[in-house]
């Protein structure tokens, strides 16, 4: 064996042989030259061990198993998180509600353009002069998708089911406006016939309320109050939505619901307004990743993406400039809770000082960047008949004065405290850091950011185990009450420890008030306490909704405060009409159809 360096120089390939020999691999000198030839892959394929061929065979077989049948959908919408439930009485998520609203109809339903209540299964109604009794007249020919008539008794059943303590419906609160609704739900009244909802005959429903509730027709369109099929539920219990066919009362029927895969809806031909259902088959896809949603949309696998969380934050600045990204304001507020049971935040002067040094503009421009409007009041603007009061603005001088009055001049002696936020989004931490900077810079106080995983955070918030806490709230119906009643002393959503009898009284008085203007004033007084005088919370900004779809292809989606978009009205333009469209100038074409004018919302707040 030649191993000297000179031998290596002698002929090419020697280095390799030298290496192989030294390391004991490969060919040895004693082997016949013919077999010294090596191979990249085995030459003699038949001799490949079975273990190597098997994987490919198995792969081919497995692949054959994952083909799905069924026609393509007319409309594909990315709906956000996988629904926890599609049962109107049990569900709590927005993505869940959007599907259930299509399957089950209420006495009223949402106008696609502005989310105002319009006649649904009730074709007309009368309201008693004191505003406490509603008599609904149901459509006599309305039927379930199974063909059975929908009667007033179905509504009584559906509503009592929500209130029944055994159902354990987390949203039963929207029916507490009924006479004896809350009492029945908490078990103080056992007799369901005492609850203020009765079927007078097959098509007449009489509803008796505790108070004149001016937003009751809005509530009737709310998902929890929609009518559900009694027979199916009594037969199958909690699993009734897993059986097929599910009797549906809405514009669509449920064809398939595969967890984390897709929900397929098909037009319900027996729906009373089926002539106005624009798309035959609609697929709703769950999606957890914003990048995936954007990719699906960009490659044409999805037509509409209507979840704000499904816009990649890194690309927000670029995407928002595109015409197919639609930003609009809706009923949600991002705010900070103070734990008023802890010193020194039991002092309103301290809370106000903290509120007065927050530069909210910096937060919406630097961090959220999605077209959000800064919030001075708590209730978002745009609610008809309600004028949100001005809260505390940016006045660092006043803030320092207040803090000094409270006994902490220049932040001296102020105990260090924690700001609680959750880890569901990076946004929360970024805002926390920004706030930390503002408070330390302007007031000289020191805080620590305490990040907790979602459920732990919620538990800490509920147990008042925090000093300051990031929070948010989304309204259920277009009325200030959906934001204000939660800060009543015993409301489970208060979570600040702030209890004020005058506030409670104002809200109660407002909701007993028949006159809309007087009611608005009372609510306004209450909110002024909340955001100006007592400040147990500091609103930071109002949420902006964000959807993306191409105006040139998709019709029937309108921005509105509730961010509800009945699918019945949505459709995809046929390629033919699209072609005609593209020949004419786009802006002119937009003006041409009455609908699409609304499709481009002004990005400024209303």
């Amino acid at each position: 064996m030649k191993t000297s360096a000179s031998a290596l120089r002698e002929k090419p390939g020697a280095l390799r042989r030298f290496w192989n020999a030294e390391h004991g691999t490969g060919t040895a000198e004693w082997m016949p030259t013919g077999q010294r030839r090596f191979f990249l892959l085995p030459r003699s394929t038949p001799r490949i061990p079975g273990g190597l061929a098997f994987p490919f065979l198995a792969a081919a077989l497995l692949l054959a198993g994952c083909v799905r049948s069924g026609p393509p959908a007319d409309l594909v919408i990315i709906n956000g998180a996988e629904p926890e439930s599609l049962d109107p009485g049990l569900l709590t998520g927005q993505a869940d509600g959007r599907v259930a609203l299509e399957l089950f109809e209420g006495l009223t339903r949402y106008d696609p353009t502005n989310a105002a209540p319009i006649p649904g299964l009730a074709e007309s109604w009368e309201i008693s002069p004191d505003g406490r009794v509603y008599t609904f007249h149901l459509r006599p020919h309305a039927v379930w998708s199974s063909g059975e008539p929908i009667t007033a008794r179905d509504f009584v059943y559906s509503w009592l089911r929500v209130l029944n303590p055994g159902t354990a419906s987390e949203y039963a609160g929207v029916l507490f406006y009924l006479k004896n609704g809350e009492e029945y739900c908490s078990g103080n009244i056992r007799d369901a016939s005492q609850v203020g909802v009765k079927a007078m005959d097959d098509h007449t429903l009489r509803v008796e309320l505790k108070n004149p509730t001016p937003f009751f027709l809005d509530l009737c369109a709310y998902v929890t109050l929609r009518v559900v099929p009694r027979q199916a539920i009594e037969k199958y219990g909690d699993r009734w939505l897993m059986t097929r066919p599910v009797p549906c009362s809405g514009a669509y029927a449920l064809v398939a619901w595969r967890v984390n895969d897709r929900i397929r809806l098909r037009k319900n031909p027996r729906y009373w307004d089926a002539t106005h259902t624009r798309s035959e088959i609609v697929d709703l896809l769950p999606c957890a990743s914003a990048n995936t949603a954007l990719n699906l949309y960009e490659t044409g696998a999805a037509d509409v993406v209507w979840d704000k969380n499904l816009v990649p934050g890194e690309l927000l600045d670029i995407l928002l400039k595109r015409p197919d990204f639609h930003s609009f304001s809706y009923l949600g507020t991002y705010f900070i809770r103070f734990n008023v049971t802890r010193k020194p935040f039991d002092d309103a002067r301290v809370r106000k000082a903290f509120a007065l040094v927050i530069d909210k503009k910096r937060i919406v421009e630097k961090i959220t960047r999605g077209g959000e409007q800064i919030a001075s009041g708590y209730t978002p603007r745009g609610i008809p008949g309600y004028d949100t009061p001005e809260g505390l603005g940016y006045e660092p001088e006043t803030a320092r004065k207040l803090l000094a009055e409270a006994g902490f001049p220049g932040g001296k002696g102020f105990p260090s405290f924690q700001y609680l936020c959750d880890t569901t989004s990076r946004l929360h931490e970024q805002i926390a850091v920004e706030l930390q900077d503002m408070w330390q810079g302007e007031l000289g106080v020191h805080l620590e950011i305490r990040k907790l995983e979602w459920k732990t955070y919620l538990r800490a918030q509920g147990d008042l185990d925090y000093d300051l806490c990031r929070s948010s709230w989304i309204g259920d119906y277009i009325d200030a009450n959906t934001f204000l009643d939660m800060f009543m002393s015993n409301n489970g959503n208060n979570r600040t420890g702030w209890k004020n009898p005058r506030y409670d009284e104002l809200i109660r008085e407002a909701n007993a008030q028949l006159d809309r203007i007087k009611r608005g004033n009372l609510l306004r007084q209450a909110e002024t306490m909340l955001v100006r005088e007592e400040a147990p919370i500091v609103p930071l900004y109002y949420y902006a909704g964000l959807m993306y779809y191409r105006d040139s292809e998709i019709r029937g989606i309108f921005p509105n405060l509730l961010d509800v978009h009945p699918i019945q009205a949505i459709y995809k333009m046929s390629p033919k009409s699209n072609a005609q469209r593209s020949t004419s100038e786009m802006p002119a074409a937009r003006q041409g159809t009455g609908l699409s004018v609304h499709n481009r919302p002004p990005t400024t707040d209303r």
Partner: protein
């Protein structure tokens, strides 16, 4: 006999695992019904907890979960509470209220199994030859290229590989769909993303095994017999060199079959991997324990299969 004994032994092991999972989940702060929005009244929250028996002491909940809880009927007769693990019932999901855990596993597992099996095949199909070649072509460019490739796919996580593959093959060239799970084409990119790392791992294990084997005396004697190099390496060498890969395959397969959170997330695949992570965050107790038990059972079973395969491949190994 030996394997039968081991099979019997897995049952207490699974019980211990389920107990640990159950106990740990209940120790974590927050519960399935802690939400941003409180239930309409405290009574509703109590009713919810009563419905899912969360108001009972944890040991009782655990026995109920196992299906080993006896309850007295109003007439005073003792009877076993229906369902439970021993009846193959993982219980209701506390988050997905229309589904039972069995439903979700039944719907999600086929996708995870398919993807896992495909990735496993891919990992073996490419990892074994790669490791083989880098070992027998030691010192050549094939070795350097192969080893570099193996190291590369080990170092770059799926979180990076996935989006890169999507960007190149799905968005730029449009060969494959970007996500979803509805045709064989949809399986290609997820399989690559999930499998590439294991190609690297298997290639390295195979290489190590092969390098050790090449020094062995029986290889020398095989060569001395005048066998062809192919026969020496494939028939005699491969069989033993593949042993490290085999023992790695068990846990690997269990891991792949139960789904991957990252890959399922990137490609929106309806598997169980996503639930394994999310159910913990959601405190969906029955779902967590159900999936942990499933994973544990699969792992134990596949380890058993691996040991069995060992006894076939290596004549020195005998189980008593």
């Amino acid at each position: 006999m030996y394997f039968l004994k081991r099979l019997v032994f897995t049952i207490p092991l699974i019980l211990v695992i389920s107990f640990l999972a159950f106990g740990l989940m209940h120790l974590a702060p927050g519960g399935p019904f802690d939400k941003e929005r409180a239930p309409a009244s405290p009574e509703i929250k109590r009713a919810l907890e009563a419905k899912f028996h969360l108001n009972e002491p944890v040991w009782k909940q655990y026995l109920r979960y196992l299906g080993l809880l006896w309850d007295r009927t109003p007439e005073g007769n003792w009877h076993r509470v229906d369902g439970g693990l021993i009846a193959g019932d993982f219980g209701p999901s506390m988050r997905y209220r229309n589904h039972s855990v069995n439903d979700i596993i039944a719907q999600g597992l086929p996708a995870s199994l398919t993807l896992g099996a495909l990735s496993f095949c891919f990992a073996l199909g490419f990892g074994l030859p790669l490791g083989f070649v880098t070992a027998v072509r030691k010192g050549n460019w094939q070795e350097y290229a192969g080893s570099f490739l193996a190291l590369l796919v080990i170092c770059v996580p799926a979180l990076v590989i996935g989006p890169i593959l999507v960007m190149v093959f799905a968005i730029k060239w449009r060969w494959f769909p970007v996500a979803l799970w509805c045709s064989p084409w949809h399986a290609v990119l997820p399989t690559l993303t999930l499998g590439l790392y294991f190609v690297g791992r298997i290639a390295r294990l195979m290489r190590e095994g092969m390098l050790t084997i090449l020094h062995a005396e029986f290889i020398t004697s095989a060569r001395a017999k005048g066998l062809s190099e192919t026969a020496v390496l494939l028939k005699h060498g491969f069989r033993l060199a593949v042993l490290p890969v085999v023992s790695y395959s068990g846990p690997l397969l269990a891991d792949l079959l139960t789904g991957s959170f990252v890959v399922e997330n990137i490609f929106q695949i309806p598997g169980v991997g996503v639930f394994l992570v999310n159910s913990t965050l959601n405190r969906d107790y029955p779902m967590v324990v159900g999936l942990v038990v499933l994973y544990a059972a699969l792992l134990l079973l596949l380890n058993l299969v691996v040991d069995f395969a060992y006894s076939l491949l290596d004549p020195r190994v005998k189980y008593e």
